[in-house]
Amino acid sequence: MSAINKEVGPPVIELGTMGWLRKNLFSNWYNSLLTVFGLYLLYILIPPLVNWILLDANFVGSTREDCTNEGACWIFIQQNIKLIFYGLYPTEELWRINLVYLILLISGVYLLVPNLKYKGWVGAFLLVIFPIICVIMLSGGLGLEAVETRLWGGLFLTLVIAGVGIVLSLPIGVMLALGRRSKLPVVSILCTIFIEIWRGVPLITVLFMASNMFPLFMPEGVNFDKLIRALIGVMFFSAAYLAEVVRGGLQAMPKGQYEASQAVGLTYWRMMALVILPQSLKMVIPAIIGSFIAIFKDTTLVLVIGLFDFLGIIQFVGTNPDWLGFSHEGYVFAAAVFWVFCYAMSWYSQRLEKKLDTGR
């Protein structure tokens, strides 16, 4: 018997705008209530925010007296933009930083455009030659005037710390992960101890140690640049976290992949480089990028050892008597810039996952 149940009737149509609204926002009374409440929240939050950031904001002028409207005083950011982006780096040498940015931008875009030739060479250039260019251009040498790292600051310093941390911590993390899974007990134990020590300590402690304790252990007269000490600290700290992420990926690999690689005669390192790591790193891309984003945001902690990163310098210029009382603008600007960088990494990771998907 297939009688039509007249009381229930046919399903309500789910096509078109109305159908979508009914299905997703008003499917029952509490969803309707939540929808209305959500709309109300947006109504009380968005217009004042838009007014403050855009409509009532001050964009033109050079001193705080020009900020006559009620909204945000973006003149504060404009007037301090050099400090915020470059720290105390000498103004006449700023072209050096900008040139480095430009090289990075061009090669980065080149790598992102699909189907171009010589991508391998551009990648190799970025990994091998570009760091050398960076060191010479940024700190001086080869006829360029030396710029001490204590003058480095702002967004530039944030990018240096995060960039070095991200680029160096991944290979170190991979080696630590392989080491921890090694069949040689000495290697495995050493890697485990190393990882667990770094993971067991807060980054802020690592930075303090690098900045204050480390010099005490060095012989008199030996002076390690403070920035380099901080970089090493950040690098090992995030390498330890990445090691565990990568180890998770290695453990998810089916045993058959190891056996098939061995059966065709691949040695350990080739098996890892050609078969195991490409697959296991792909599996943990979201977690790796998560770690990278964490490093990027954690760079703000270098303030405690007297390095003025992007956020640190914004707080610093806010204490300038000429610009007291504009910390809201500073924090909103900082948040926006951090969001742009972190979202870019997130977007790239999604793109990468799609590109590498071979349907397994």
Binding site: G256, E259, G265, R270, P278, K282, R360
Partner: protein
């Protein structure tokens, strides 16, 4: 004329307390086809996995083409270069195309130039009749096609011995034949083969000798006719009555 390819002398292996290989003695000559069968857990997979050191034997000697398997990694590498293996679960590399699966080891182990390795890979893919799938990824192929690709991958290293570990057990029934056909072709071409399988039709057609294993021991080793017509041991009879 017969040239000794594989020699196992008094081989023992334990997994903890479990005695998985118990005094295995075996000699396999060039061009011989050996089929190994037996109940699950009888040690047949372990036996062939010892030949290319996916498992370590703990006592006795295994000599492959004059090279004794020891802990010396060079002996292991040399033997793995001569011995190809096909697995029950195919174990293709899912991140590489079929063509790259086949040319990977020739490029990195045999050091062939890329173009030459790919040509050779295409040649073997043609032989197993999936050259039209060369640029697809493993996940896009059927089980039978994947297993044929796995056979081609092993052949690309030009091994002198091929090991098959239940190559058709994970396949849908209608795909078993296409894989067995490839294996029969290989056997007729003179390859030395050790095949762990329950495909008794295949065993009858190509095997020079059939080995029945139980509880880590070789219970019976005979040519196919005697094996099926006059099995000696009770265990062999029981096993045959169950699978035939």
């Amino acid at each position: 004329m017969s040239e000794l390819m594989i020699e196992m002398k008094n081989v023992h292996k334990w997994f903890g307390e479990l005695h998985v290989l118990n005094d295995i003695n075996l000699e396999i000559n060039k061009g011989e086809k050996i089929v190994i069968c037996g109940p699950s857990g009888s040690g047949k997979s372990t036996l062939i996995r010892c030949i290319n050191r996916l498992e370590e034997h703990q006592r006795g000697n295994i000599i492959v083409e004059g090279t004794e398997l020891t802990n010396d990694s060079r002996s292991i590498e040399r033997i793995r270069g001569e011995v190809g293996m096909v697995f029950q679960q195919f174990n293709l590399f899912p991140h590489l195309s079929i063509l790259d699966n086949c040319s990977l080891a020739p490029i990195w182990v045999r050091k062939l130039p890329k173009a030459e390795a790919k040509d050779k890979a295409m040649e073997y893919l043609k032989r197993v009749q999936i050259d039209d799938q060369a640029h697809k990824y493993p996940a896009q192929l059927s089980g039978g096609q994947q297993q044929r690709a796995a056979i081609a991958r092993a052949l690309c290293m030009e091994p002198r011995i091929m090991l098959f570990d239940e190559p058709t057990s994970a396949l849908d029934p209608e795909m078993i034949k296409e894989v067995l056909d490839v294996m029969v072709g290989l056997a007729k071409g003179g390859m030395t083969m050790i095949v762990v399988t329950h495909e008794m039709g295949f065993a009858k057609e190509v095997a020079d000798s059939i080995i029945f294993m139980d509880e880590g021991q070789i219970v019976e080793a005979k040519n196919p006719k005697d094996f099926f017509d006059n099995p000696e041991s009770e265990r062999t009879k029981t096993f045959l009555s169950q699978i035939l």
